[in-house]
Symmetry: C2
Subunit: 454 residues, 2 copies
């Protein structure tokens, strides 16, 4: 069967930075919520529009509110599987034609799946508006879930799992972190799915999952760029608004119980060097403490002037790099730190230094310089995103989805600016505690040793 | 609403020993597979019959192949919930009437739910055969899943969860063990269900679960005692065989990935004394190594002459008791040890002594005396079960369900007798390794301290 070279992305935390392959220039207009228009089509589907005719391009983003959190044991991986299937043909566009048609019109696309959402990104010339909406509408209305395609794509996903998880120590560590830090909540399984589940999805499971979650009313459309408003709304109504709405699956109700003590997981595996991955339970993305954590994380782990780099890499020379992340989550997530040890350094040494630096930030306010620099980074990053139609489509959709209201996008700079050093102390003291953390340690072994550790 | 005093049992490992409240005397006839009759009713339902007219009683056991492993996040606890609902009324027997009718006929009953099965046990005089089958058939054909009853029973289960799990340190530890030792497999959630799930089951979820799993063909009936064969088969065909068979839900396909390093979980909680709970991944019940583990466990942890008692309680005086268990599981399970520390003794001390004793059993063969004594205990226990019609119904059903063939019941004594000291060394060395274990430690705290540990 055909195989399209496509950079499928299972959105693990460290692949967060999306590669925006079609950038438009900075807009002349102000970043003002009054520029954004909210449209509800006759079937109830919501569309966010943001005009910008600086260059004659369009970013068409479709946010589907379905991710691995909507799965269950036995059918893990199906959300990501449909990210693949959505390019495998529909009524008017046989397999391969989605990409070919879009490329012929001068556009390109990508997609990613996280625990929370599946996002499809089209970057096209303004002239390709109608064909782009045709392509999107056709795969929503009449996606092919042909058993032969399912089998072939199952094989593709299996080898993706092998390559991107099983042969990747940090991904394996992340899989162990999530499944250990979460006891009850569906964030515990990997977005790509457990191997045995991928092998065993039935045709019926695949079709049920598609019917349950790919109802057109479960999508949010975000379109930024150079469009004629009346033409766009007319086309949206004709192509998307005409698709029948239907019932969507039930939202996640499981609440993760409070963690009441440290959890530790060893991963013994052939490797050159050890690593330490720590995850602390933190609130959902919409919670104000997450803004503070984003700031604290920059001070701790971003770049060579960050506290962890200076301590672990420069001063103690025990690590090669340190990385921290807060993620976008509907439900309470994890703040994660990953430290790559130098050869021969064990996890205990790394952890001691790491916790010392975190405690220092709890006990003493960060300096004004550090605070201002981190704010500058956040704000600059925000404006960098806002400088492209792709970035704006992505941010607008993300704020609507993860913060519950796209308007909050226009407050975020002010929110960052208002954060004080004592907020960092409070937030780190609240969430980054020993009893709230899960630690995964990669312990390098000789291949033969791993199976024999007693 | 009515409330029947009933000893509902969520079958956690340490409540394994069923209270058999209606014992019949030992049968004169030999323990021979030729006494057992296998009947298939016209709707495909299978019944195992074992006649015994020593006393004029009957044990009617119904094994439903549904347990918490057939649930998913969001609907955890529903299998156990139906253990409750099955007593809440049906077409011909309104709420309360199941128990009243059975008691009026001189019988009694109980039920339990595990991760694998839900088992209903009726102990009745032979004269109550027809009414017993009427009661069973009616709740299979026409169980009431009335929303008002569902709400009331939800409250009962919530308080059961509070009492038997949340206020019970060892149950809480067990919950943490299962959810940490299992990353992927549905054995990871508690049989009673997560609190947020119990609170959120929808009427639709409840009805779907019932329809999916309580198809009559998903039950195995086992009847032991004083019956007239032709009358019994006639009644079974009339009452049970006439219920329409239908499709049953999909069996569990998720395979737990191999554990590649020790996992440790702390539970900080107000308590008088600490405890240590260790679980090692072992095969499913039908696997021959489980017979060896059962034997090894007796030598390690059964009674005051066991190795762990002599070492931890008598000699080192660091523990009050030690308990070990293999459980009945369709899929690979855990071998578990729970040690109750003496006040002031910490988990590290307990673990060191525990692993030393296990290593000693790996490295040196157990003595002939120990081996013979353990075999005697297993065999005596087996014959003790076999001495009652209840015990026989339970064992016959369990072997059919967990070993795949009731005939294996009649080989089990020979299997135990054939086990050698080196089998114990091999099995413990294979499964009871550091990299295959999960350790949950209860760390006593002052109440105020628990929330503040840094």
């Amino acid at each position: 069967m055909r195989s399209t070279p496509r950079s499928w992305t299972v959105l693990a935390s460290w692949s967060l930075s999306l590669v925006l392959i079609f950038l438009a220039a900075a807009p002349a207009q102000a970043l003002d919520s009054s520029n954004v228009e909210e449209v509800t089509l006759s079937n109830g589907v919501r569309v966010l529009l943001w005009p910008d005719d600086t260059i004659p391009n369009l970013a068409v983003y479709t946010f589907w509110k379905v991710g691995s959190r909507n799965e269950a044991p036995g059918i893990t991986g199906l959300a990501h599987f449909f990210e693949h299937m959505m390019f495998n043909g529909s009524e008017h566009f046989p397999p391969g034609e989605f990409d070919r048609t879009m490329e012929a019109a001068g556009g390109s696309n990508n997609a990613y799946t996280s625990a929370n959402v599946t996002v499809y990104q089209d970057w096209v010339p303004a002239s390709a508006l109608e064909i782009t909406l045709d392509l999107e509408a056709d795969r929503i209305r009449a996606l092919s879930v042909d058993p032969e395609l399912v089998e072939s794509e199952r094989g593709v996903v299996m080898s993706e799992r092998r390559r991107s998880v099983e042969d990747d120590n940090h991904s394996l560590m992340w899989e162990q972190l999530m499944s250990s830090a979460y006891m009850a909540h569906p964030y515990q399984w990997p977005v790509i799915g457990w191997r045995s589940d991928i092998e065993n999805w039935r045709q019926q499971d695949v079709e049920d999952f598609h019917r349950t979650w790919y109802a057109v009313n479960n999508a949010l459309f975000v379109i930024c760029g150079a469009y004629d408003r009346d033409e766009l709304i007319g086309l949206l109504e004709e192509k998307i608004g005409s698709i029948e709405a239907r019932e969507v699956g039930r939202d996640v109700v499981t609440v993760e119980p409070e963690q009441r003590g440290e959890r530790r997981v060893e991963l013994r595996k052939e490797a050159q060097m050890g690593s330490v991955l720590v995850g602390w339970h933190v609130p959902e993305t919409a919670h104000e403490d997450i803004r503070v954590l984003e700031l604290a994380d920059l001070i701790l782990s971003s770049g060579e002037s960050s506290r962890l780099y200076r301590r672990l890499v420069d001063q103690d020379q025990i690590a090669l790099w340190a990385w921290g992340d807060t993620d976008n989550n509907f439900d309470p997530g994890l703040y994660q730190m990953l430290v790559q040890s130098r050869e021969g350094v064990d996890g205990t040494t790394i952890e001691a230094a790491l916790y010392e630096e975190i405690d220092r930030m709890k006990n003493e306010p960060v300096t004004d310089d550090e605070l201002q620099k981190a704010k500058n980074m956040l704000v600059a990053g925000f404006y960098r995103d806002m400088a492209t139609i792709s970035g704006r489509a992505n941010q607008l959709g993300s704020f609507e989805i993860f913060h519950g209201d796209w308007r909050k996008l226009f407050d975020v700079v002010g929110t960052y600016e208002s954060i004080q050093a004592e907020d960092i102390q409070r937030v780190l003291s609240t969430w980054l505690t020993a009893q709230n953390r899960t630690v995964v340690t990669l312990i390098p072994t000789q291949d033969t040793e791993a199976g024999n550790a007693r």
